[in-house]
């Protein structure tokens, strides 16, 4: 695990490059890549774009701690997380989570754990800008709650 890795970026995330940066491991039999992608919502106000901001020092620290926690919880070989900040357009990647392990079970579990924790624990916030000129800060959605324009 690279403890010096940065987890936040203002640059576009390219999935192919992100995957290529994971390197190779002859012990990895499974690799799970999760991409959180900005989408429009056909049932509600049309989305123009999103803007993400963070309390960056604490967001970096929390993301690092989450990857360490997941590594203790499951026998994974590597976990990488990259979260966008700034303006992100429809169709662009907002967050990428890459987990490699010997077997698929721990890769899926660690990946799910990481993305759920990102949504609830990491001090990152997104503001949705709509085509009608309005905007609103997104609220963390929990299962069973009414939908807002989110993925």
């Amino acid at each position: 695990m690279n403890t010096e890795a940065r987890h936040l970026t203002y640059e576009k995330i390219d999935s192919a490059r992100f995957l290529a940066d994971s390197g190779k491991s002859c012990y990895a039999g499974a690799q799970v890549l999760f991409l959180g992608i900005i989408r429009d919502n056909p049932f509600e106000k049309k989305v123009s774009h999103l803007v993400y901001e963070a309390f960056e020092p604490l967001a970096e620290k929390t993301l690092r701690e989450l990857t360490e926690q997941a590594s203790r919880e499951w026998p994974v070989l590597d976990i990488r997380v990259l979260h966008r900040l700034g303006r992100v357009e429809i169709g662009e990647i907002a967050v990428a989570v890459d987990v490699r392990s010997a077997h698929r079970d721990e890769a899926y579990r660690a990946s799910r754990f990481i993305i759920e924790a990102i949504k609830h624990k990491v001090p990152v916030w997104k503001k949705e800008y709509f085509m009608d000129g309005s905007s609103e800060w997104s609220r963390c959605q929990h299962a069973g709650e009414p939908r807002t324009a989110e993925r």
Binding site: A94, K119, W137
Partner: protein
């Protein structure tokens, strides 16, 4: 004694500031610092109960005391990902 409060996202937007300095004679709790912030910016009052707090970049409890030079970050509910 001065404590710096950092505001983010909706809080920053409502208060129209990203930083706020609280003056105190002695150590005060995070809760008290937030109350003083809300007294100055009453429109943020409704959002504060939902916020987490961090002291000097570390998540902490609202009852934790703040001293000279401490930085309190008031964090609305996360919406990353």
């Amino acid at each position: 004694m001065q404590i710096k409060i950092l505001l983010f996202a909706a809080l920053r937007e409502i208060a129209q500031v990203s930083e706020f300095a609280v003056e105190a004679v002695e150590a005060i709790s995070c809760e008290e610092a937030m109350a003083r912030l809300a007294a100055y910016y009453p429109d943020i009052t409704g959002l504060l109960p939902q916020c987490a707090v961090a002291k000097n970049g570390v998540f902490t409890g609202r009852d934790v005391l703040l001293a000279q030079g401490d930085e309190l970050a008031v964090l609305p509910p996360a919406s990353g990902g």
